[in-house]
Amino acid sequence: MAKATNTELIDLLGEKFGEQLFDVSEPYGLLTFSTTKDKVIDVLSFLKENGRINFNFLTDITAVHYPEKEQIAVVYHLHSMVSGIRVRLKVFLHENDPKIASATVLWNGANWMERETYDFFGVKFEGHPDLRRILNMDDLGVHPMLKQYPLEDPNRVDKKDEYFGR
């Protein structure tokens, strides 16, 4: 079987999902596209179960916070070991109410990845069997990777960024 390529993948996904996939790009050869939060499980399961492309391996789930757009992007990296190619799927959520369906129905490995994303960004994965904090203490109260939380205590006077040209 010939290996699937990015162009073929774009055609296949375009045929199936049409307008529901957008922002398609290929930074450094890695096919990247976005979808809406309603469609995410459909897209992921299509990628996983389609025999031609076979993205059966979930490499990673993480998130990125864009405060000026008031958005949190949940980023999935999938890998097709058969074709040896990767894709990156992004879903943009509003930062006030970041809720998305859990991928644990497709991969057991999504469990801790989603717990980590919840812990650091506050993204609520609906249908997750055990959505608790994982690395931070349970009573931390904030989701520390959000951009509004500074790295260090802002009241310190000895380490002002301006002294360091930052």
């Binding site: 930074p27 450094y28 890695l30 990247t32 059966n56 391996f57 979930l58 490499t59 990673d60 993480t62 990125v64 916070h65 980023v75 990296h77 070991m81 040896g84 990767r86 990156r88 991969w107 057991n108 490995g109 469990n111 801790w112 990845m113 980590e116 650091f120 069997p129 055990d130 608790r132 994982i134 690395l135 931070n136 203490m137 520390p144 990777m145 790295l151 040209g165 930052r166």
Partner: protein
């Protein structure tokens, strides 16, 4: 058990089960992580893993540091094979900047990475043996890890947290002593590894303790996103060095060992065979270096490669470049990049988003220990405590990589 919260049987006088806290600090876990186990005699009924005891917020810190100040953070992920992490990070930045690396630099890097893979596998395999009661093998092979650290010391001055290399290459060329030490290692290590194998591979007690214990099918391993020796022990020949070659791994002739049942014995055998293959790769790299022009140890990228100290102290331009690089003043493309390397425990990925600022907008580490470990509590159900201990050793969970 409800909602996976630890249940303490002390509250229930009727219960026959005993709660056992394995960790956070326990000599057999080889790291700081806790498992709250419900025990029925020697058998584990259920368990809950609690992690995060040494979480250091590397991803948050990385958002405030220029590229070079992130290298020491990567050291402290899997601290048993820091050079692989350092190289993986530098290669991520090189991919972002589209830097072409000279072949000789690639080969020098391959030597360092394979040496650290051997060091990593030595730790894991000797500790499996140690936890089954075979102390000799541990003491015997562990001295070669020391020899590897001496080589690192010769190359970069540090042993454990190496901070090795630069964006674009290495800080300095290997000196004569380093080459001599590598040659000595290549000469002596195979005999020791062979002896190590002859002590364990057909050892009845060792086989009884490891064979058929903690078996994992390929489907389960894939579903849990396992990578590295653990995945290969289940029979899937996935190795980043072959599937997406970096640092000229395509120039080398080596094999990917796979197991069949995914049990502890297979994991042990896979790691042993990988050490043999690593030796083979280093030998080939030493051979290839002979035909490469001497003295090249970095690419020509003055914008990102730190100038030598000699130059910085005596030359105005070098001083300016040094300052600009250290302060993160030089523009990198606004882009996002994912780069993976084959670490000691599996696919170590770096997801970098650069927005043109001094430091990454977002940097995420795909840490194999973190992802591999999530199955541990589930695997332990129904297992004997003593088997669960070797299972943990054979997964080679490194607390630094687990918690980041």
């Amino acid at each position: 058990m409800s909602n996976n919260q630890p249940v303490y049987t002390d509250n229930d006088p009727q219960s026959e089960l005993v709660t056992l806290n394995l960790g956070p600090t326990h000599p057999a876990t080889h790291g700081v992580f806790q498992n709250v186990l419900q025990m029925d005699g020697e058998r584990i009924v259920s368990g809950v893993s609690t992690i995060g005891y040494i979480h250091r917020a590397f991803e948050k810190i990385a958002e405030h540091r220029p590229f070079y100040q992130i290298t020491p953070l990567t050291d402290r992920l899997n601290y048993c094979s820091s050079p692989i992490n350092n190289m993986g990070w530098h290669m991520t930045v090189e991919k972002l900047l589209n830097i072409q690396i000279p072949k000789r630099v690639d080969y020098l890097r391959v030597i360092i990475m394979e040496l650290s893979r051997i060091a990593d596998h030595i730790i894991c395999n000797t500790i499996i043996a140690q936890d089954t009661g075979a102390t000799t093998t541990f003491l015997y092979l562990f001295q070669y890890r020391e020899h590897i650290y001496e080589i690192f010391e010769e190359i970069c001055g540090a042993r454990l947290t190496t901070n090795i290399g630069r964006i674009g290459g290495l800080e300095r060329d290997f000196n004569e002593v380093a080459f001599a030490k590598i040659n000595k290692f290549l000469k002596e290590f195979p005999a020791a590894l062979k002896e190590f194998e002859s002590l364990l591979n057909r050892n009845r007690i060792f086989i009884d303790r490891t064979k058929g214990v903690a078996e994992v099918t390929a489907d389960t391993a894939l579903s849990y996103s396992w990578t590295g020796p653990l995945l290969r022990a289940t029979g899937i020949d996935y190795d980043v060095r072959v599937s997406e070659p970096y640092s000229s791994y395509q120039d080398f002739d080596f094999e990917i060992p796979v197991g069949t049942s995914g049990d502890i014995f297979d994991r042990y055998l896979v790691r042993n065979e990988e050490m043999w293959q690593s030796v083979r790769i280093i030998e080939q790299a030493m051979e290839k270096l002979k035909s490469e022009p001497k003295g090249i140890f970095h690419a020509d990228v003055p914008d990102f490669y730190l100038p030598g100290k000699e130059q910085v102290y005596n030359n105005m331009e070098a001083l300016i470049y040094h300052f600009k690089i250290v302060m993160g003043e030089i523009d990198a493309p606004k882009a996002e990049v994912y780069h993976a390397v084959e670490g000691g425990n599996g696919e170590l990925g770096f997801y970098l988003i650069n927005d043109g600022g001094r430091s990454p907008y977002r940097l995420h580490f795909r840490r194999p220990s973190f992802i591999n470990y999530q199955m541990y509590a589930k695997m332990s159900e129904g297992m004997l405590l003593s088997d669960a201990i070797i299972n943990m050793s054979s997964m080679n969970i490194i607390a630094g990589e687990l918690d980041a």
